[in-house]
């Protein structure tokens, strides 16, 4: 049975199901307990599972990441939360030097099975220190997995799969997605990591988008369909390890690709995607240059209008797609 849930509710349901199923699963983060999380995602879980399994921490991201790493090493299944992805910068040593590497450095004798959930993205007027999209920092670190769901159903299934995974998973949510609604299957289910999904089939142009940009790309596709342009929207869902094959197949079909993400363009995940496509057999099917539409290379502005301009909007995607299709006809 499917019913409509918000993205935030879907994440909460996944955590609830995992905690009910496996005693090793516990929550750790700032205000995840009594307060219910900065965005209300963990609301009610403290009341249900108590202070032992839903632990509020001091304001120290290094501690959160360290606790998660240590607890995972000793056999627990922690779900840590970093309140804003921006502050993940404070936990980098634990994540990059410890969590990502211990299994390798100890010859596989230990596992670090934790999930670090964190909301990313601009659009709330929270300015440069509360709006970052830093996912590609982690894509660059061997040993970490990076998951970035775009729909409530994906969020639930991918979070449960991430909790089951024996590796540290950076699970990137988007603040503006929390209130989006979608059909979500009931009960416990997982969506395997590293499984790219075609969210909408089309023949004229491939848009590869991540997180909130998938939602915007789908809306753009809807508008373009009225002009007779059939856009295929592809969502990698897991950025690392990337399931590239469906992306390559799609580009072979359409011959044109637009990559859309919110993070700054330079050094962003789009560059990696473009290279993967260019190196693949899809190269010989490209009928136009690979294009990227991404955040401007600036800190996220506090001014709401400037903030809006900094991040790709639906009309920007429509415009870029239209130009790309016209150019290749």
């Amino acid at each position: 049975m499917s019913r409509e849930l918000t993205y935030a509710e879907a994440v909460r349901e996944a955590i609830d199901l995992a905690m009910a199923r496996d005693e090793r699963v516990f929550l750790v983060g700032e205000d995840v307990g009594v307060y219910g999380g900065a965005f209300g995602v963990t609301d009610g879980l403290y009341q249900k599972y108590g202070p032992e399994r839903v632990r509020d921490t001091p304001i120290s991201e290094a501690v959160i990441a360290g606790v998660a790493t240590g607890a995972a090493l000793t056999g627990m299944r922690p779900i840590a939360e970093i309140q804003f992805m921006d502050f993940i910068t404070l936990s980098m040593e634990q994540l990059v030097l410890q969590a990502a590497k211990l299994r390798f450095m100890l010859g596989g004798k230990v596992q670090v099975p934790f999930v670090l959930r964190t909301p990313a993205g601009a659009g709330t007027g929270a300015a440069a220190q509360h709006s970052e999209s830093l996912e590609n920092w982690f894509v660059h670190v061997p040993g970490l997995k990076v998951v970035m769901p775009s729909t409530p159903a994906d969020a639930k299934g991918l979070l449960l799969a991430s909790i089951e995974d024996p590796n540290p998973v950076i699970f990137v949510e988007h603040k503006l997605l929390y209130r989006t609604k979608g059909a979500v299957p009931e009960g416990y289910y997982t969506i395997p990591l590293s499984q790219t999904e075609v969210k909408r089939p089309g023949r004229d142009l491939t848009i590869v988008a991540t997180s909130l940009m998938v939602v915007r790309a789908l809306e753009a596709a809807e508008r373009l369909a009225k002009e007779g342009v059939e856009v295929e929207v592809v969502d990698p869902r897991t950025l690392k390890p990337l399931d590239a094959e469906p992306i390559i197949r799609s580009v072979c079909k359409t011959g044109r690709v637009l990559i859309v993400h919110e993070a700054c363009k330079t050094g962003g995940f789009g560059g990696e995607l473009a290279a993967v496509i260019a190196e693949s057999e899809a190269f010989d099917y490209l009928d136009a240059p690979i294009r990227r539409l991404a955040g401007l290379d600036i800190p996220v502005p506090y001014n709401r209008e400037l903030e809006r301009r900094m991040v790709p909007q639906v009309e920007d995607i429509v415009d870029a797609a239209r130009r790309l299709v016209k150019e290749a006809r």
């Binding site: 010989d284 490209l286 006809r329």
Partner: protein
């Protein structure tokens, strides 16, 4: 200097050749004299040898490409050039020339001769700007528009792939993309118009009405040898009014003689077949009836008849993909053994594609024998510019009336085709009678 590989001219009248296949690939090392590729002319298949040792580069035409003779089809880069390109930075400066390392590298990369460059640096040292200057001065001469244009064509990878797959020259297309970039749609457009054109040509050639119901077979344009055969035969059939004369020849004596002589002929390297006997008799008969040993050719507006003194006897040989007519020169001078050896050698080489163009041209009369098949007699089409051809059917035992009773005799029917414009019926009949007598009374061959 790279050595050009050209489409060779094997025969005097050859204007173009078709590449069958490359035996060496681009980038492969080749030795002078090694076979590079196989080429088909309108008469035969030939191998083309490497004109120099080096590395095969810049292969400009692929299989099936028909190229005018003397066109450059590839280059062979000299070993030094390849070595220089491989070890670019270490190429030593010429003695006595002072060169900065950057200038040296630049010269090696661009092929500028440093001995021809004046240095502007301290103590006359050649520096970067000097090499750049020399390069600029050279630019107009070294410009090879054809190549450069090809390289500078703006095209998407998809357009390039399609062009590659279908053998379309991108440079000939107009791009509809930004800054004239050629896109897949442009290649597809060119492709569909080409296909339309090709189909029309084919349909015209074979008389198919467009849209013939149920027509699904894919036609194939005639190429090389086959195209030549087709055009020459229809030309001959349409231009030369043929007359056909048939006679039966009693082989009793020939058969007896063959038994006597076969071993001696074999010892001389040949096989005494019926074809050899007929060739011998035809050569002798033509000596006595030279009007049939001739050419009739159009020279401008005039038809010119040329009679040959010697008999250059063409012997038709069926090969895998058509028919070859190697020519036995001065056949009248050859005895049975020599003739047998010569015919054997030519037929064998015809079947393995090893004949030279001179061996398949210049015939004055043609012999076509289908006696190995159950063909009792047939008529042949003249092989222009020759004025006569003899078609030989199967020898078989037949009842023969000797005046008192029927007796079994091995008989063979031959049919002479002659160009009635210059050969009257009586002349043709006289030749045929002579031929019959020579074969039935072979002692006359000694006369």
């Amino acid at each position: 200097m790279a050595t050009p590989v050209i489409m060779p001219k094997f025969g005097m009248a050859q204007e173009e050749g078709t590449i069958i296949r490359w035996l060496k690939q681009e980038g492969e090392r080749v030795e002078k004299g090694e076979t590079l590729l196989e080429v088909q002319t309108d008469k035969i298949d030939m191998e083309v040898e490497a004109p120099a040792s080096g590395v095969l580069t810049d292969v400009r035409y692929g299989p099936d490409a028909t190229v005018p003779v003397t066109t450059v089809i590839a280059l062979i880069a000299a070993p030094e050039e390849v070595a220089a390109a491989e070890a670019r930075p270490s190429s030593a400066p010429s003695a006595g020339v002072r060169v900065s390392p950057v200038a040296q590298r630049m010269a090696a990369a661009t092929g500028v001769d440093l001995t021809q460059v004046t240095g502007s640096g301290p103590q006359g040292r050649i520096v970067k700007s000097d090499v750049a200057g020399a390069l600029q001065a050279q630019a107009p001469q070294r410009a090879q528009p054809q190549e450069d244009e090809t390289r500078r064509v703006r095209a998407t990878p998809a357009a390039r792939r399609l062009a590659r797959e279908h053998g379309i020259a991108l440079a000939a297309l107009t791009g509809s993309g930004p800054q004239g970039r050629i896109q897949a749609a442009d290649v597809e457009k060119a492709l569909s118009s080409e296909k339309r054109g090709e189909r029309r040509e084919k349909e015209e050639a074979i008389g198919v009405q467009p849209g013939t119901p149920g027509e699904t077979a894919v036609g194939e344009p005639l190429r090389g040898k086959r195209r030549t055969i087709a055009s020459r035969l229809s030309q001959s059939w349409q231009n030369a009014p043929h007359i056909f004369l048939t006679t039966s020849i009693d082989l009793t004596r020939i058969d007896a003689l063959t038994k006597e002589l076969a071993d001696d002929v074999e010892a001389a390297g040949g096989r005494l077949t019926l074809t050899v006997w007929i060739a011998r008799a035809v050569a002798a008969a033509l000596q006595r009836h030279p009007r049939l040993n001739a050419w009739l050719r159009l020279d401008g507006e005039q038809l010119v008849y040329t009679q040959h003194e010697s008999v250059h006897l063409g012997v038709a040989v069926a090969v895998e993909d058509g028919l070859l007519v190697p020519v036995v020169r001065n056949a009248e001078t050859l005895g049975l053994a020599a003739l047998a050896a010569r015919i054997g050698d030519l037929s064998a080489r015809a079947r393995t594609g090893q004949l030279t163009p001179d061996e398949v041209s210049g015939g004055s009369f043609t012999l076509s024998n289908l006696g190995m098949y159950p063909v009792e007699h047939f008529t042949a089409i003249l092989n222009p510019p020759e004025v006569a051809i003899l078609a030989v059917g199967r020898a078989q035992v037949q009842p023969f009336w000797n005046g008192a009773a029927f007796e079994p005799r091995r008989m063979m029917q031959v049919t002479l085709s002659a160009d009635h414009r210059v050969i009257d019926g009586a002349i043709a009949a006289a030749f045929l009678a002579e031929l019959k007598r020579l074969l039935e009374e072979p002692a006359r061959l000694l006369l």
